[in-house]
Subunit: 337 residues, 4 copies
């Protein structure tokens, strides 16, 4: 932590800051430059959390040099984390594909999808039972009934299953049926939900918020891990920018950035990032090439009548073709698939 | 709703779209241009919700011409809504100032603040008992105890009180103590929470999400109103942009835009928008001049030791000076204060 | 300038950095913390410009603590600059309104506009003779003929006149006819043009780029001032964000931020910021309340047939009404108008 | 073009719009819905360019359905364009790599770089002789002397060469020395420069502006092509967003979007997009996987003393390793390299 003083800061203001630092048992290192004086703080800076030094006299700004997340930080945990979901391992040498419909609509739809995606190579079935929708008049999900269909699909196919949760009630229901919880982009900073997901004991897929920085995303993961649950997988799904040619802007750089800053696995969701079926293939290739540990791809038996996100969903033959296309890219990037 | 066909769309593709529209009981109006053909849809377009016409053959794009929010829409409710909070009215001819600490820390802090802000002219006491914080290691709030202090402050001063809620449990506690619920920016699209707030019967202050468009914000309000609770007040508190000189970018245009699109009252929070105490005064003036119905201003007996957001909080003499400064601006803008 | 080392940086890496710093004649101040070591640099940091310390071994990041602009910086020039344009003074105790059409279309249009805006209180006539347009098929301006019309309007009315310049040729023509040059948002980082505008000797209105940070904007001003031309006025005209309800997002906070960081005058252009005529009044009030030194408002004798930006232009009676509305706000904010 | 009327629009307002449309020789198709009436316009809509129908009475908004760029539009030119630069072809079945220093510093530096990158497989040498820099105090380039060094490198190695131009004077100099002109991100909407580059007869590399939408970028290309110069190559180099972990956010989706909307070749510059050397490899792989026709990669004999952008530059052994790494990805994506 570095405190930058204003030019011409009074001697007494500098002394005051040093006093506060030393009174808390930390050390202050002074660098008096021609224009400005800076004060480096050495020691446990959490002692200073509520001192609000920014508004002490003659302070220009505070620069923090260490990240606020610790458990998600690669600096303190250099080995990559491998997260087990049912009998699937994310973050190791396998490319993991999660696929299925945006929304669970019926038992038949879920079972048909599960068989199809398994045949093409996917390892995890996704399907929303609790749907966060922009408009209250859009389809909101089958809730617990949807979870039951997912469990049946797991039993029939051996696929692991994942569902999004949007409330404590949804978590309490989901733990009875699924292998992994998903926290959606809109809830990435619903800290209450993060803590409850942490307590659930299930692995958690944490989607990046539409306007979340990578640091905020890792702090959100920290909430889950801090509850004793280290099994967090991150999912880049596009951020909000001024560009409207795609629904969101896939921040593909997030993949190597996460690999540099954290030990957690990271996957990519090109379906939600673009909102356009035709861009799923190039961006899936791209995610693999950038080093992602997996993909989340929306599929539907008949996208033209899907109750949610049809325009970005693939049908089964398109998904089959996609998997075949991706296989050599995965292998080239060092992943089995 | 307008369907734009691709150039050289096949006759059969156009017929197909018209068939779908007419089969659902709507009318299709065809405009065949030199480059492209467009099809206007007349009737209840919700009938087409799950038809995913975007991916039908030769369709280029779908343009929606009506907003998805109805209850929050000025078109269908031209009279401005006035929301009653205790004995305060927001959206009428009075400028309403909500003030208090970011986080409730102690009974003394809350009572001292309540007396001070009332003296300067504020009508509503704010104070967070459930704090959403980026890092799990930051102070998370006093929870129900904090709510109790707020209620005591109300009883002592006659001020109305508002608290942020972040979960169903928090709502269940808050309804016993406060006059108005606040949904924070990070929970603006926590649709589960919006519905529960709607059911609570209390008026709701709905902050704009950091990356929410005004349309999404009004759709979030729609979730609350659709539960039978029309008492929603909107609060602009800055959006996330590339600029880092302020913590967020106050989108002041949102005030006249909301006044044009909706009948709901709108207030402005310059403290969170900028994160800098020195900018609170110019931006408060600015909000009033733009037509805001009120302000939310953070105050603290001693900002330099505030447990949350100290750097943007005013002390009591600064708040007193602010209110005096704002009074003539409010009057000029047609508001009593 | 502060160099933050990686955790577990090798002793030799730290010594290496200190050597580089000291070899350049600067001092290095070391703070060895538990997690990281930081090195404060004292002295003329321009000596280190091409050392690229970011990529030296074990360096985590470089934090700069001083701004790269000097001449535009309030720290070294605390007195506000007042810029003279013809016989108008911007940055003093007068509110200055620049008004006129987006594009100069004819002599009659310009003269009619000049008389009308003068009557309502504007002091400077604006009008584009060189128009930067997104599409090459849109009207590109009358060029030198347009400048001549502006000069005639000045002679007839006594108003000062300003025109946008987009090339060296345009500057060479404009200096013969106008009192102030305008650098548009799209050219804010056309450094070649900035230097030429600096050399012209005329005062310069520098609009903020659509995605320019305030620091980049002040660095652009520095380019002009560094050519010996201190007469720069800044103009906030909206930045690009995800919000589409307005054409751009007016960053009103930029006004107090500029007043804090720089001594240069700053005005606001609500017409371009919003692109909507109906929002010009609330945002003009707002700019004045925030402390702006002036406004730029588009007017046209008949906006419905304007060759450029008609939808955001006011007709003369709307402009007259606007000026009357703004007068008491200006006075309250301490400006004569 | 579609005109959406306000709810309860008066009959006379609708008639007025239809009159304007028909008077200009176009056809109006009316769809009168329950809530709103829409009017489709058929015919040459450029006739309506200056009618500003947005502000006619009772008009809610105008929706355009055709792109304003024609020559750059794939709809009217379905075959991909292949651009010849010296003896290199961009947009065909070859992956083209442009490489070299951000800034030309000396003859030795340029020649050494040219030989090294040629050996590793690059086909085009890049090097800036006119440098647009945020601060006026940073190195501004060697100008014509730098161009001469580039030409010598071409003669010695047979590589084609490209230089950025920032003014008419720079274009006039560059045409004597180089094979391709580069328009940088900050000048993407310097329409004057675009026209001059169009007239030069040389192929042009057009970088995307930091806040330019893909539509605006294609309109900028249209300016060049409209001067009779169809040899435009687009370069995605990152856009400005709120994320600060990378210098800009590489919008990799732009590659498939451009391939869908335009016939022009598109390459990717991962060096400028991220500003971090360590991210160049994953993002280069990624660009190839997404379908890019080439890459622009900064290299320098000794990045730690580069006068510009050292931290993102590769040294020659890193570049050699990169090219070897990329070869199988290029082949898998169907490109020779």
């Amino acid at each position: 932590m570095i405190i930058v003083m204003k030019p011409q800061a009074k001697e007494s203001s500098i002394t005051n800051i040093i006093d506060i630092i030393e009174r808390k048992g930390l050390q202050a290192h002074l660098s008096a430059g021609k224009e400005v004086t800076i004060i480096g703080v050495v020691g446990d800076k959490s002692q200073l959390d509520n001192q609000n030094l920014e508004i002490a006299e003659d302070v220009d700004k505070i620069v923090t040099v260490t990240e606020s997340y610790k458990l998600a930080n690669k600096k303190f945990h250099p080995e990559p984390t491998i997260v087990q979901v049912g009998n699937v391992f994310i973050g190791g040498d396998e490319l993991v594909i999660m696929s299925g419909p945006c929304a669970v609509e019926s038992k038949e739809q879920v079972l048909e999808t599960a068989h199809a995606i398994k045949k093409s190579g996917a390892q995890i079935l996704r399907g929303g039972a609790y749907k966060p929708r922009t408009s209250p008049y859009a389809f909101q999900g089958l809730e617990e009934e949807g979870l039951r269909f997912m469990k049946e699909a797991r039993e029939e196919t051996g696929l692991s299953v994942i569902c999004e949760v949007t409330s404590l009630a949804a978590i309490e229901a989901a733990v009875k049926y699924v292998d992994m919880l998903q926290i959606g982009a809109r809830n990435m900073q619903n800290f209450y939900l993060l803590k409850e997901a942490g307590k659930s004991g299930l692995p958690v897929l944490l989607k990046r918020g539409l306007s979340a920085t990578i640091d905020e995303w890792l702090n959100a993961a920290e909430y889950i891990i801090a509850e004793g649950n280290p099994n967090v997988v991150l999912c880049e799904r596009g951020i909000r920018t001024f560009e409207t040619a795609t629904r969101n802007t896939l921040d593909i750089s997030a993949v190597p950035v996460i690999k540099t800053k954290s030990h957690l696995p990271v996957i990519v969701d090109p379906s939600h990032a673009t909102g356009v079926r035709g861009y799923v293939k190039p961006l899936s290739r791209c995610a693999i090439a950038a080093g992602a540990d997996g993909l989340m791809i929306e599929t539907h038996p008949n996208p033209s009548i899907a109750l949610s996100d049809g325009p970005q969903s693939l049908n089964f033959s398109q998904f089959e073709e996609l998997c075949n296309d991706l296989r050599p890219f995965a292998n080239l990037a060092g992943k089995k698939f």
